[in-house]
């Protein structure tokens, strides 16, 4: 009757969820660009609010781009499970014979592809606007790629915890932001060190370790949180 071989069904469930979320994201193109526009506007505020002086901006650039990327990721998190909760798909995911771990992973992966990755790719442009020295661009791309992925994963836990709350958006930021601090420290430092001519292998390795840890633990915490949120 059914194809019950676990491996095939695990992969099948993951691919189906991944494709579905990607399709939904593609049909809501306007929502995709919002974090990017936020990122752009927020970075533009800095020269206006601080100083357009190139030396000042160059000094601040690594930190500012990183902080703004963090905020842009945070803003897009609220929608991660929200629509699934509202239309009943979330209940169906919880009781599906597929592993919820992989369903959550598929959703987070799509979230990263449509928010973290574009933010990462836009970051060099913003670096240019903030006169980031040339040595900083590659480290910026690498550290943001690793860091935004960790942030999507950690943020998924917060999104799962607040999914049943009508006004969960601000609360989500509140509980997730402190957890982002280690990622921010090592990410921004990678760019800063590179600009000063130092080696950044260690920072990238630590960011990679954070990502590995997040891949293992965050979906487990998120799926537990999803079960709790739909229970009430």
């Amino acid at each position: 009757m059914r194809d019950n071989s676990p491996a095939a069904s695990l992969l099948g469930g993951f691919i189906a969820s991944f494709r579905r979320d990607l399709l939904i994201a593609a049909r809501h193109k306007a929502e995709l660009t919002n974090p990017l526009v936020f990122f752009l506007i927020a970075v533009t505020l800095i020269p206006l609010g601080v100083s357009p002086e190139k030396t000042v901006l160059a000094l601040l650039a690594p930190g500012i781009v990183w902080v703004m990327a963090l905020l842009a990721t945070l803003l897009s998190l609220d929608g991660l499970f929200r629509s699934d909760y509202d239309d009943g798909s979330l209940e169906q995911m919880l009781i599906s014979p597929q592993s919820l771990y992989f369903t959550v992973m598929a959703k987070v992966l799509v979230h990263w592809l449509v928010s973290g990755l574009p933010v990462t790719l836009l970051a060099p442009v913003l670096g240019l606007m903030l006169s980031l020295p040339i040595e900083g661009y590659l480290p910026l791309l690498a550290s943001l790629a690793l860091g935004t992925a960790s942030m999507s994963l950690i943020g998924a836990v917060g999104a799962a915890l607040t999914v049943s709350l009508r006004k969960g958006g601000l609360l989500l930021s509140l509980i997730v932001m402190p957890l982002y601090i280690p990622v921010l420290i090592f990410g921004a430092s990678a760019v800063q060190t590179a600009v000063q001519g130092g080696a950044i292998g260690m920072q990238l390795a630590v960011l990679g370790a954070f990502l590995a840890l997040a891949i293992v633990l965050a979906p487990i915490a998120a799926l537990g949180a999803l079960r709790i949120s739909t229970n009430g």
Partner: protein
């Protein structure tokens, strides 16, 4: 033949001494129901009696219950995976993505739990032939509901848990759904549903949750606290 006899001796789904509690209020307790292949059970009771809570507990969404749910002779937490593959739950929320087309929606469900027939056939069976590629946000509430009901045709699950499946569908749809439930029963499946509709199925059994409201509840004492007290005296 002997095999079907032994199979019939074990209920496909069994609720043993089941009770549900919500916000420290005991909704019902001591519920014992056995569902053998072919059974259709309608859960009755006034609003707030705990019908939805019961169905959510049965489906495995809620864990706010005590007592036992047994699937094919095994207690549920142990057989949860097999149960998930053999059951289908339709709740108040349709579980349909409005940004996707009916076919894309069902594609996901097919990947989740397999399919008995093709998606096109399932949609045709609920009267949505020709709507396969229309985005769901263009469909009416009744049509959206039908997309969800198409899962009943698609799925090969033996246990159907349906919460108010007749809402928002027209007269023809109601009779079609009734026929479908009868067909599921004839195939040896079980259906457990809530509805305010009077159903004309001969094999229908009514379970009224009001009969399982305990005397304790009338004094509004939380059950959790009571059982704590019991443990204390034990």
């Amino acid at each position: 033949m002997t095999e079907s006899v032994t199979e019939a001796a074990i209920p496909l789904l069994e609720l043993r001494n089941l009770g549900c509690e919500r916000d420290e209020r005991l909704l019902f307790s001591g519920l014992d129901v056995q569902l053998f292949p072919g059974d259709v059970v309608q859960i009755g009771g006034p609003n707030g009696a705990g019908k939805t809570t019961l169905l959510r507990a049965l489906a495995g969404i809620s864990t706010d219950f005590h007592g036992q749910i047994r699937y094919a002779g095994q207690a549920l937490p142990e057989a949860a995976w097999e149960f998930a593959g053999d059951s289908l739950y339709l709740g108040h929320l349709p579980g349909i993505k409005k940004a996707l087309t009916p076919a894309e929606n069902l594609e996901w469900y097919k990947a989740q739990s397999g399919a008995a027939i093709s998606i096109g056939d399932a949609l045709a069976a609920v009267g949505l032939y020709g709507y396969e590629d229309t985005p769901c946000y263009q469909l009416s509430a009744g049509q959206l509901r039908r997309v969800a009901l198409a899962r009943l045709h698609l799925s090969c699950a033996r246990i159907w848990i349906l919460d108010e499946p007749f809402t928002a569908i027209d007269k023809l749809g109601v009779s079609q759904l009734e026929a479908l439930i009868a067909q599921q029963s004839a195939k040896g499946g079980v259906v457990i549903l809530t509805s305010h509709q009077d159903l004309s199925l001969p094999q229908l059994r009514m379970v009224n949750l009001q009969d399982y409201q305990s005397a304790r509840d009338k004094t509004k004492i939380g059950l959790g606290s009571l059982s704590d007290g019991d443990a204390y005296h034990a």
